[in-house]
Structure formats: structure tokens, C-alpha cells
């Protein structure tokens, strides 16, 4: 058994496998399938200060090796989370992080303040990259100025680990990563979904009610890997890589590109126990290649 532990700023993870926001509910939905406490951590569903109904149905389109979604941050709001959901999560013996979103900087702040009060929440992932909401979301993540505004504002009210989640829908992700680091991010996670679209040729209508949606799954892995590698060169904070990870080999590729931990997203839908298989597979890889610890391969792509 290799040493799989890793760190994201002050967070100690027993292993580098987290779950991606929006793909793992609150963990509870997986209790039938696996022991959530075995994971390095979970990032719960995107949370906003006010309850949100999300977008109209249909919200999903299958694509080649991937899927589009346009859920639009449906959630019952930070207060409901704190009173009704959070108490159920304290049973988990692992890091629980909350993905925080908002339409205005004030909303981000208000949401982060509520989460800041919850002892058992190890950190937040600041979602400035949701492509499925009309206001805020991704628009905060596509320019250095707006990144600086929202990240530094939340930094003031949130003391624990703050990961900033970047959008891939940009010309130069390295530059935006530097803006987030400079504004106080303890870590960066990437990538959120790529803006895409599906059309039903028979009905001649968009498949999604919102016309466009976010692309996830193995289709985007090459883009995600490239961006992790670019951002790793641009910043010094630890990175959490994701985008199309389906198995341990995919995860290893992200570590080599420079990620200190990874998140598994869409793959959870297809195999709800995939995270445990990935943890095992990473261990096998390290043993087979005679590495004692995960940190031996982080960022160790041989050029």
C-alpha cells in the first residue's frame, strides 16, 4: 500500500480522490453504493444563498463520449443546507466541501458566510465557472478583473480552505489562474464544463431547454489535461484536476500534469462505485511503478 495522502493548502486528504460538485449530490445518495468516508473528500452540489429552481427540462443531452447538462444550480439555498442537510453529513469521516455560487458578489459573500459557520465543512469551492446560469456564474470567471473582485471579497469572509474553480471557456486560463491565486485562492480546481449545444435534427429544436449547456465526460479530458498542465506552470497553489476522469489511468495523467488531487464527475453516474476503484487503481499503479507515495508523481511529467 503506497502512501496516497495529499494536501490542498491546509486540507489533509487521506487519498487524492474527491467527487465533483453536481455529480455526487450530498454524498447521502451514494450511501447504498459505497462508504463515502473512504474517499479523499466530497464536494457537494452547487449552493447559492437563495433557493434556486434551476432551468427548465430537458436539462441533459448525451453526446459522443460525454454529456451536456443545463441544470442551472438547482438547490434549496445555503440556509436550508445548513439546517437540514449539513447535520446529516457530519457522519462522514472525510473532507466535505461546499461548492458556492452566486449571481452577485454579495450573494457569494452571504453564502460563504453561512458555510463558514459549519465546523464539519472543510472548505469551499468557489464556483465562478457555471455555464448554466443567466447571471453570474461563468461570467465571473472569464476576466481577471471580475475574478479578483469576487475571490478577494469571499476571501475576507471565509477563513478555511478556499478552492477557486476555473472555467475552460477562456482564451488564456493561465492568466485567469494567476488572478485567482493573487486574490487569495488557496487552491484552484479545474475544469468546469465546456459550453456546448445539442440539436435534435428530427424536431429541429435544441435538445436543452436552455439551448446551450455544459459538456463533461471523457470527450473533454484532453482539454482538461492541457489546462491543468498550463495552470500548473502559471501558479504555485495546489491544483485539483478534473474533466472526464473515468479510471485510475486518467487520474494518474492529471497527477503527472500537476494536480495534487482529482475530482471524479460524470463517471459517478455510470458506476457509482468508480471512486473506490480509482483509489485502488492509483495504489496499484504506484506499487507497480515502485513509487512509495503519490507525491512522487505529482507534476512529474517527463519532457
Amino acid at each position: 500500500m503506497a502512501d496516497l495522502s495529499t494536501t490542498i493548502h491546509k486540507l489533509e486528504l487521506k487519498n487524492p480522490v474527491l467527487t465533483a460538485s453536481g455529480t455526487f449530490g450530498y454524498g447521502l445518495e451514494y450511501d447504498d453504493f459505497l462508504d463515502v468516508s473512504l474517499l479523499g473528500g466530497i464536494v457537494v452540489k452547487g449552493t447559492t444563498i437563495h433557493p434556486r429552481q434551476g432551468n427548465a427540462y430537458p436539462r441533459m443531452a448525451e453526446t459522443a463520449s460525454g454529456m451536456l447538462n443545463s441544470v442551472g444550480l438547482q438547490n434549496r439555498g445555503a440556509r436550508y443546507f445548513a439546517t437540514d442537510i449539513y447535520p446529516k453529513l457530519t457522519k462522514y469521516n472525510t473532507n466535505v466541501l461546499v461548492n458556492v455560487s452566486g449571481s452577485t458578489i454579495e450573494e457569494y459573500i452571504a453564502c460563504a458566510e453561512i458555510i463558514n459557520e459549519l465546523d464539519h465543512i472543510a472548505g469551499i469551492e468557489l464556483n465562478i465557472s457555471c455555464p448554466n446560469v443567466k447571471e453570474g456564474g461563468m461570467s465571473f470567471g472569464t476576466s481577471c478583473g471580475s475574478i479578483e473582485n469576487v475571490v478577494s471579497a469571499v476571501r475576507k469572509v471565509y477563513q478555511k480552505t478556499m478552492i477557486v474553480k476555473l472555467t475552460p471557456n477562456v482564451t488564456d486560463i493561465g492568466e485567469l489562474a494567476r488572478a485567482a491565486e493573487y486574490s487569495g485562492a488557496d487552491s484552484l480546481s479545474l475544469i468546469n464544463t465546456l459550453l456546448g449545444m445539442a440539436i435534435n435534427a428530427e424536431t429541429r429544436k435544441p435538445v436543452l431547454a436552455t439551448i446551450t449547456g455544459g459538456l463533461s465526460g471523457p470527450a473533454i479530458k484532453p482539454i482538461a489535461l492541457r489546462m491543468v498542465w498550463e495552470v500548473a506552470k502559471a501558479v504555485n497553489v495546489p491544483l485539483v484536476g478534473m474533466g472526464g476522469i473515468m479510471n485510475a489511468t486518467d487520474a494518474i495523467e492529471f497527477f503527472l500534469a500537476g494536480a495534487s488531487a482529482i475530482q471524479v464527475g460524470t463517471a459517478n453516474y455510470i458506476d457509482p462505485t468508480i471512486t473506490l476503484k480509482i483509489i485502488d487503481g492509483i495504489d496499484s499503479y504506484l506499487n507497480y511503478h515502485k513509487f512509495n507515495k503519490l507525491s512522487d508523481i505529482i507534476g512529474c511529467l517527463q519532457l
Binding site: 453536481g22 455529480t23 455526487f24 449530490g25 436539462r59 454529456m67 441544470v71 455510470i270 462505485t273
Partner: protein
């Protein structure tokens, strides 16, 4: 029973007609109760065009043989691959998922209305209702007589009526025009329906106008099947609800259908 993911062995694959298959799947673990209306989410192997699982109602359960059956209508790459799964190979299955139809406490006179692959979720229901001594009537519509499959199976559990669009069997026309809905509707205490949405809406409108209890089973597109992706929502009086966990069965009074 709690949700599981298991490799189920195909022990029978009955081709019902050109594009309908009935697969009997052997469950390695001891089955616990599966309720009528619940579904399974099946993994499709060897299909480059299929990425996500595919949901199918649990058509019937055999607790003695420890099997579940699914009824598959081939409409695309995923259903074609699954429908043609050879006997003795395995299908990775996530089940049982979703809620179920409400079974009355006392025997009642009940009508089931199904169309297309929607009939699949009614078989397990018909069986259960019959076991509880309800007086069950089953109305099934199809394009043509060739698409009316499993009628014998249904008739073990109730009285079967049919419609076909081309008139090759039963009454000619849409299921929603069947005389039983016109002439005898008032006699039914409950209506359960599953099939194309326009059909269910028509049935629901009829039920609503006469204040008859009515449940429908929805088939929204799904990514996960167990309540985490929030892709499968339908509008209800309490806001968006997931068809995969709050449904697939909804009382029509919960839905925001304009009927």
C-alpha cells in the same frame, strides 16, 4: 430493497416481435421486495455511441428464480444493443430505482392504460393488484396488432382491451378514444397510466375531470437515475422534482400539467 449495482446474467431473451425483447436477468444476491413502477438502469457495452446507462421499468419479478425481467423496445443504439444481448452474457444493472405506484388498501375496480414501451411498467403493477384481489382492467394501445405483445401475460391479471391505430386488432384509433374510457370511465376508482406523454395527459385530463385517482409514470431523460444529477426533473406543485427518485410515478394532482 436498497439500491445495488450488479452484473445480472441474461438467462432468457425472448424476441416478442421485430423490435421488442423480454430479457430475464438472474440476480446473484437474494432479491428483496421490488415495488411496481420501480426501474433498473442498465449499462450498455460495446456501443460506441452510448455513454450513459439506459433506464427500463422492472417488468416482472420472480422471487423464486431470483430474477427480474425487463421489456425492451428497440428505438436507438442502446436499446438495440441491449435487446440483442445473448443469453448467458451479463448486463451491469443498477436497481431498484425510483418510487412506485400506490397500491389500494382495499380491493377496487382499477383501470391500467398503457401504450408503447410504457406497458412495461404496468405488468408488475397488474400482477400486484391482481394478487391483492383488485378488479383489474387493462387497456393497451399500439400502432398495429404486431406491436401488441404480451397480451396473454396481461390477461392473467385482468381483463384486457386493445386499440390499434390501423384497426388490425381491438378498436381502431388511439387508446384515448377507446369506448371503455367513454362509457365505463365512472366505474373505475383508480387509473394508472404509462406511455407516450400525450396519451398520459389525455388520460389524466379525463381522470381529473371526473376526480378519479390517477397516477402516471414518467419517462424523462436521465443521466444518473438515483437523484444526483438533477437532469430528469418535472414541474410539480412543489417545484422541480426528480423523476428518478421522486418519481417515476406521480399523482396527476402533483404535476403542473395544463389539463
Amino acid at each position: 430493497m436498497r439500491k445495488t449495482v450488479q452484473n445480472l446474467k441474461v438467462i432468457e431473451n425472448l424476441q416478442l416481435n421485430d423490435d421488442h425483447h423480454l430479457l430475464q436477468l438472474e440476480v446473484p444476491d437474494q432479491l428483496e421486495t421490488i415495488f411496481p413502477g420501480q426501474f433498473a438502469n442498465l449499462l450498455v457495452n460495446h456501443s460506441p455511441g452510448v455513454f450513459l446507462r439506459r433506464p427500463f421499468s422492472i417488468y416482472s419479478v420472480d422471487y423464486i428464480k431470483n430474477t427480474i425481467s425487463v421489456f425492451i423496445k428497440e428505438i436507438g443504439e442502446g436499446t438495440r444493443a441491449l435487446g440483442q444481448t445473448p443469453v448467458n452474457s451479463y448486463i451491469n444493472s443498477m436497481f431498484p430505482l425510483g418510487n412506485s405506484f400506490t397500491i389500494p388498501n382495499e380491493p377496487e375496480k382499477i383501470l391500467l392504460v398503457g401504450g408503447g414501451s410504457g406497458v412495461a411498467s404496468l405488468m408488475n403493477l397488474a400482477q400486484e393488484l391482481n394478487k391483492n384481489l383488485n378488479d383489474v382492467y387493462i387497456l393497451i394501445g399500439a400502432r398495429s396488432s404486431a406491436d401488441l405483445v404480451e397480451l396473454e401475460h396481461f390477461s392473467q391479471y385482468g381483463t384486457v382491451y386493445t386499440t390499434t391505430e390501423d384497426g388490425t386488432q381491438g378498436e381502431k384509433g388511439y387508446v384515448t378514444n377507446h369506448s371503455i374510457l367513454r362509457d365505463q370511465f365512472g366505474q373505475f376508482k383508480r387509473i394508472y397510466s404509462c406511455g407516450p406523454e400525450p396519451m398520459m395527459r389525455a388520460v389524466a385530463a379525463k381522470a381529473k375531470s371526473q376526480s378519479v385517482f390517477c397516477e402516471v409514470s414518467l419517462e424523462n431523460t436521465m443521466a444518473c437515475g438515483f437523484g444526483v444529477c438533477l437532469c430528469c426533473v418535472t414541474e410539480t406543485i412543489e417545484g422541480h422534482k426528480c423523476v428518478c427518485t421522486d418519481g417515476p410515478v406521480f399523482n396527476i394532482n402533483q404535476l403542473k400539467w395544463q389539463i
